[in-house]
Amino acid sequence: MCLAVPGKILEIVDSGEPVIGRTAMVDFQGSRLEASLAMVPEAEVDDWVLVHAGFAMSVLDEKEAKENWDMLKAALGDDVELVGNEPTPKGDEDDQ
């Protein structure tokens, strides 16, 4: 009933909105969306969070994530082999 997707926190900023508070730029493996961290005050840069409708709803427990590495990979779709080429990540074009 509710789609939620895991992504990694790239950067945390203060939204300037008093209640929303901290927001994060979250990377979903190549697409990035801003999410509020109001519901996960413990979240830090590099943490994996599960985001639903613009709000991070939980921080993936790192210990748990290590023990369940396969599960995390599955949740991320990283356990599958994909046919298809990847776009160049933004910012990389300038490095050449």
Binding site: C2, A4, V40, L50, D79
Partner: protein
């Protein structure tokens, strides 16, 4: 098939065959619409033993939104200087006189948003308009709405209104089970709702009704594993709460989110489309936040729910019938011309069957 999937399927096959031979075939309800769709989409359904019956529950927020609500949203869309902010899910749901999509065709301003925060932004950017946010959803979605209300309150944004139809899962499970003999042996519980409410929330269900409850994520192996855990419990005569989505779901859930919801909303009786009124199964704005309430702002009342003739949605989402048993399924009722609520949302049981299930497929028109 990957080897881990294969192993789970093999054990499921054995256990279900034994149980069937013992005259006790297993039926499991997936409460959540995203599970319904994921079970089809990943092909999980095709891998399950035929003696294991999966029953879809009432866990699609769009499907259980009463027709009165849709009609109200359409009426509000026709008011002057109104912007309706809504999740994409709601745009096509038909009410008695059309959908938001048809209203948009007639000139109403309908903004599709990802997040309740976008509704706050819209209100701020359009001070001369009233922005009405269609607040539907279960426990995962409501905290964000509550926080957005607090944000608007704090910043003195006074042109945001909320048409609340938020619903609670546990009371719905009580209502399903409390009605008498329920031909369900256990529950596949929604991973993302459980992030907020915690796996402990299912304890009363497991204890009171003797049904195993297992919380699962939405990827193939995880769903199959959860089903296996339920079947194992059924075979052993147990009724515990288990959590195979421990990566993100904890026992108490997200206490911050719970507190935010509690601050802004209070439980109320709510009408579930095609099921009827379930006590304390919905949420309404607390009095302190009453000025955000679209109903009182416009002095309106929600109309009654109407179930279209011939539609057996009520039975479908209570696990008493499958979509294929409906005479209208796939003929009079399709995703393009939906009759009942279960066909309108892509998460609805009938829509998922229509879309993914070969055995009940009608030839492509």
């Amino acid at each position: 098939m990957t080897s881990d999937v294969q192993a789970v399927v093999a054990e499921l096959n054995d256990l279900c065959a034994d149980l069937e031979a013992a005259g006790k075939p297993v039926a499991i309800m997936e409460i959540c619409g995203t599970h319904t769709v994921s079970l089809f989409r990943t092909g999980a359904k095709s891998l399950l033993p035929s003696s294991l019956r999966l029953v879809s529950g009432p866990g699609c927020p769009v499907c259980v939104t009463s027709q009165g609500y849709i009609d109200l949203a359409c009426d509000l869309a026709a008011e002057p200087d109104v912007i309706i902010a809504t999740y994409g899910d709601m745009v096509r749901v038909p009410g008695a006189r059309g959908s938001l999509e048809t209203m948009r065709g007639e000139g109403a301003e309908i903004a599709v948003v990802y997040s309740a925060r976008d509704a706050v932004k819209l209100a701020e950017e359009n001070p001369t308009k009233r922005v009405i946010f269609l607040s539907v959803g279960f426990e995962t979605t409501t905290p964000g709405t509550a926080l957005s209300v607090l944000e608007a309150e704090n910043r003195g944004i006074d042109n945001l209104l909320i048409l609340a139809q938020n619903k609670l899962v546990i009371p719905a499970m009580h209502a399903l089970l409390g009605g008498g003999e329920m031909p369900i042996n256990g529950f596949l519980c929604p991973g993302h709702v459980s992030i907020v409410i915690g796996s402990d929330a299912y304890k009363p269900i497991a204890d009171q009704y003797g049904k195993p409850c297992v919380v699962a994520g939405f990827e193939l192996h995880n769903m199959l594993l959860a089903l296996l855990h339920i079947v194992r419990q059924v075979a052993a005569g147990e009724n515990r709460v288990e959590n195979v989505y421990s990566l993100t779901v904890t026992e108490p859930g997200n206490l911050h989110a719970q507190a935010i919801v509690d601050k802004v909303f209070q439980p109320c009786d709510a009408v579930w489309r095609a099921i009827g009124m379930i006590p304390a199964s919905g949420l309404e704005l607390r009095e302190e936040y009453g000025r955000f309430d679209a109903l009182s702002h416009f002095d309106l009342e929600m109309g009654p729910d109407v179930c279209p003739a011939g539609c057996i949605c009520g039975e479908v989402i209570q696990g008493q019938a499958t979509p294929a048993e409906c005479k209208l399924f796939g003929t009079g009722c399709t995703p393009i011309k939906p009759v009942g609520p279960c066909m309108v949302s892509s998460e609805g049981t009938c829509a998922a069957w229509f879309r993914y299930n070969r055995n009940t497929a009608r030839t492509v028109e």
